[in-house]
Symmetry: C2
DNA sequence: GAATTAATTGAACGTTCGTTTTATTAATTC
DNA sequence: GAATTAATAAAACGAACGTTCAATTAATTC
């Protein structure tokens, strides 16, 4: 036999990508064989090479698409300049929420992007790392802005950015959809933790810390920078 | 040839372990071949099988030793009961510091333990995960104690424990010994971030938040729970 | 409806893999 | 110093790997 009835290049490629993400997440890139992948898609091994010239190029393509999606997602989710959420605290909140939701919706792909960097050639690794740096740069910019304005208390912007990324990406390690916590609850909790991490306490914290006689920061006018206007 | 002059089982085993940790960290477990490992040790492939019956058992042994060391390290570093550092804040500080230092000193082994769980059989995976749960249980206990006493403000102990572990383990991803920050500085910064994360602000934060007229928490006697007595 | 293109099969290539077996030599024991 | 044990070498096993190539059929074009 050769070409099968109803076969379609685009559908096959999409099926390959999906199956590859799942298999690599479960077994690891090196442990997954092209034969296994072909079997999962329901196709002969040789057919894979119509869509991806090598196994490594397949991996790169998956990672690239993931990073592309992540950067695009933040581009759409980021508060518009001049909006009420455009403050550093508002931007940080949006960043964390977008990150959590994006990764929860793509647990397998995130695993692949995080664990399989070793299997890329230097050149392709550099490409992915540059995309990653671009994304993390957005977070650093937010932290820097908030720190300059005095809204955040961050000693080391780069280190804090790494710590936050690590913390909020870690959600995919333990979160299971069928568990006690909903996606909303998880996102909210991570938001709270992040705000505390950057020294931008929320209302509850502040009341508890200030006690009944609290006078606030005093040296800043306007509302609380950590609670954007609605 | 056969047995070589000066050959010694214990030394060879140690050399295999060390070389394996390095190779697996760099290439990944599946990507490392037993031939590569043997070459790195300076021995024939067959010689490896005198010390480890299979490749997987070698991996398991490395991970097991790592977790054993980590748990033992915490056992020695944990503040003695009744000591000044035995408060939840003191224990949390000790936990974070021990974790950071232990992992910084064993970056390769940590990489292996974190990234190669997929390559273990179900049974061996379960074994390692149980050790991990034991270690993380210590952190949860500290968070629980601090929250019950009111020293910490943690909404979800389990989630916060995961977040902290993720954050502080992440240090090995970016830290390079020759970089601008010393191990001490890194440990101190992570300590600060952790304390903020659990709502246990340090002196600087509190003063800034309270302002000049601060009255403290008021409802608690004794010193600040976040600053253990010396 | 013939010609062309897209999609896939089936078989094969050379290589490398984890592992085993047997033989050989160094160190240790008595 | 002979017997025994520990440590390794050398060679080989079958299986699986990523990949290629030629043949074949479905869909599309003209």
């Amino acid at each position: 036999m050769a070409r099968t009835t109803g076969s379609d290049g685009e559908k096959t490629q999409a099926a390959i990508r999906e199956a590859a993400v799942g298999l690599i997440a479960r077994l690891g890139f090196e442990a997954m064989s092209m034969r296994q992948l072909a079997a999962e898609v329901g196709v002969q091994p040789a057919a894979l090479y119509r869509y991806f010239p090598t196994k490594e190029e397949l991996l790169f393509s998956l990672m690239h698409a993931h990073m592309d999606g992540l950067i695009a997602s933040w581009g759409e989710a980021r508060p518009a300049e001049g909006s009420a959420q455009a403050s550093p605290a508002g931007q940080l909140a949006a960043f964390v929420e977008n990150h959590i939701r994006f990764h929860l919706a793509r647990r397998h792909a995130t695993h692949v992007s995080n664990l399989e960097l070793r299997s890329l050639s230097d050149e392709r690794l550099g490409h992915i790392l540059r995309m990653r740096a671009e994304y993390e740069g957005a977070l650093r910019a937010i932290l820097q802005a908030g720190t300059s304005r005095g809204d955040f208390q961050v000693e080391d912007v780069a280190l804090t950015a790494m710590a936050i990324i690590q913390m909020i990406t870690g959600v995919i390690v333990w979160f299971r959809p069928e568990q006690r916590l909903s996606e909303d609850e998880v996102a909210a909790t991570y938001h709270t933790m992040t705000m505390r991490l950057v020294g931008c306490a929320d209302t509850v914290d502040r009341q508890a810390l200030r006690g009944p006689h609290a006078g606030g920061q005093g040296d800043r006018t306007g509302g609380d920078p950590c609670i954007p206007d609605r």
